[in-house]
């Protein structure tokens, strides 16, 4: 195979590499934070040994914390796809270098490169499929994406340490500012195997190539950022599930097999020995809070929720300072139950919401009652609640 692009060279590769070196740690850390946000005993996969950030109680303030971390994880991950593809394009001649390994050390390095390249592509592919609800891969997304991330992380750190000196040398060979000011397409010096020895006539300057990659990232941002930023941008997220009528959901009442009879007049909230009707709940002091629902799939939405404070329900249940609360849904699915920490129960804006934006919850939004807690991952904001058990300290 003959590589003839006059653009390839260590300088261009290093520019793209530095962008990824700066941005990917943010994607990695926000992903690992998501694992902590799920709370002790609820993170998936369960047993990961030492492979997690130090555990801490996920705070409820600022209320947009999970919206920020998860929005960054998914949003920045999407925006970096064109940069990753460009970086891989820039180094592809190395893949076909013969012999494949010059020494044992070189063979080891190439093995870590498979972790790096396989890892980033695996994380991108599984992540993209997950946010589009496509599970054709047939394994647990959580397990694969999390363990895959650690394999990638190992390859990423190794590659960064090994290549940083090379990149610094390459970046010193020409000034980015000069390159951006004057469009040139003269190839980089032919002292590197990335540089074509017999380049094709140029069709694009290096400045144009950088603009193309940057423009690609900006374009992806334009058609995806709306799913979490909302506002007029939401209408531009045309290729992502962005909800209907009012605001997005992650599980329909039909999918959760919620029978209308179970949420009608016969519905009761089990609170220890008590059983409260919807009318009982509506007679308790109502509190309204403007809070986000932020989903692990990267979308979020801010709404006005009204309902009973969880701490009032805890007091009513005779456990005014609980160590935790166990919430169960009518939904028998895997996310039909969640444990909330003391801080999450006692936050003044933590609600068993009965209304949203002044109207009853719709069936898909969890009628008759759902949990909404500041900064809590959306999947733990349990819908169709049937019982809450406040546990003593």
């Amino acid at each position: 195979m003959k590589f003839r692009s006059p653009l390839r060279g260590p300088w261009l590769t290093s520019v793209l590499g530095v962008v990824l070196l700066a941005a990917l740690p943010l994607v990695i850390v926000t992903g690992l934070l998501d694992y902590v946000a799920y709370g002790p005993g609820q993170s998936i996969p369960g047993d990961v040994g030492l492979l997690h950030l130090p555990a801490f109680d996920w705070p409820t303030r600022p209320s947009w914390l999970f919206r920020l971390t998860q929005g960054l994880h998914v949003g920045l991950g999407l925006v970096l796809v064109p940069v990753v593809l460009a970086k891989l394009w820039s180094v592809i001649p190395r893949l076909f270098v013969w012999p494949p390994a010059k020494s044992i050390g070189h063979a080891l390095e190439r093995a870590t490169l498979l972790m790096l390249v396989g890892g980033i592509l695996f994380e991108i592919v599984t992540g993209l499929m997950n946010i589009q609800y496509d599970y054709a891969f047939g394994f647990s997304f959580y397990t694969a994406h999390y363990i895959g991330a650690w394999v990638f992380l190992a390859g990423f750190v190794t590659h960064a340490v090994l290549k940083l000196p090379v990149a610094r040398r390459a970046l010193r060979t020409r000034s980015l500012r000069a390159e951006l000011r004057v469009p040139t397409s003269a190839p980089e010096p032919v002292d590197d195997e990335l540089v074509a020895t017999d380049p094709a006539p140029p069709t694009m300057s290096r400045r144009g190539a950088l603009a193309l990659v940057g423009g690609g990232a900006l374009f992806v941002a334009t058609i995806t950022a709306g799913q979490t930023l909302g506002g007029p941008l939401r209408d531009l997220a045309v290729l992502l599930p962005r909800g209907r009528d009012d605001f997005p959901i992650n599980r329909t009442a039909a999918a959760a097999a919620i029978e209308p009879a179970a949420t009608g007049a016969a519905w009761r909230l089990a609170l220890g020995a008590r059983a409260l009707t919807l009318a009982d709940l509506l007679q308790l002091p109502q509190h309204t809070a403007r809070l986000p629902i932020a989903c692990v799939e990267g979308w979020s939405t801010v709404q006005d929720w009204t309902g009973v404070r969880l701490r009032d329900l805890a007091a009513l249940a005779g456990v005014p300072t609980p160590a935790s609360a166990f919430v169960e849904s009518l939904d028998a699915g895997p996310f039909g139950r969640a444990t909330l920490s003391a801080g999450q129960v006692l936050d003044p804006d933590a609600l068993l919401a009965l209304r949203v934006n002044g109207a009853d919850l719709s069936p898909d939004h969890g009628y008759p009652a759902r949990v909404v807690v500041p900064a809590l991952p959306g999947v733990h904001c349990t819908k169709w609640v049937r019982s809450i058990t406040f546990r003593e300290a």
Binding site: L51, F122, D134, F139, L240, R244
Partner: protein, 146 residues
């Protein structure tokens, strides 16, 4: 250690780094032992790299060469740029566009995937159209100057 490193072709520090990297990956993979889907995960992991390097790259490189053959010189970018945009959307949002995962998509969102194909085509048309407008304006300006 130094002798060993010389024999393997990297510095001792680099050798330690490479071994530590492989050890961390092995430790991570250890938590997948016993997972019935382990083989599938490995196939998708290695497959992602193989499909990129041996299918996607040759495909878009050949496409690009074909474009350049038809339209040599910088003018090719008026086709190349929108084509890359359309290709990027197809690649990233493939599941929705080809309606893969329809059942889980419907269960999660209450929406079907029918609109995505049309939206992708429309967005691609906008990219090609914008590129054509830029081309037209530039050609017009050049003629005015002449």
């Amino acid at each position: 250690m130094v002798v060993l490193a010389r024999r393997v072709g990297v510095s001792p520090a680099q050798l330690v780094l490479l071994v530590a990297c492989l050890a961390l990956a092995a430790y991570a993979a250890f938590f997948l032992l016993g997972d019935p889907a382990l083989l599938r995960m490995l196939i998708w992991f290695a497959g992602a790299a193989v499909v990129h390097d041996l299918v996607l790259f040759p495909l878009y490189a050949a496409g690009d060469r074909a474009l350049v053959a038809v339209l040599p010189g910088p003018r090719v970018n008026y086709l190349r740029v929108p084509a890359l945009g359309a290709g990027l959307m197809l690649l990233m949002f493939w599941p929705g566009i080809v309606r893969q995962g329809e059942v889980t998509h419907l269960a999660a969102t209450g929406l079907d995937q029918a609109p995505y194909l049309g939206r992708w085509l429309a967005a691609s048309a906008v990219l090609f159209g914008a590129s054509a407008v830029v081309f037209g304006v530039r050609v017009g300006l050049r003629r005015l100057r002449v």
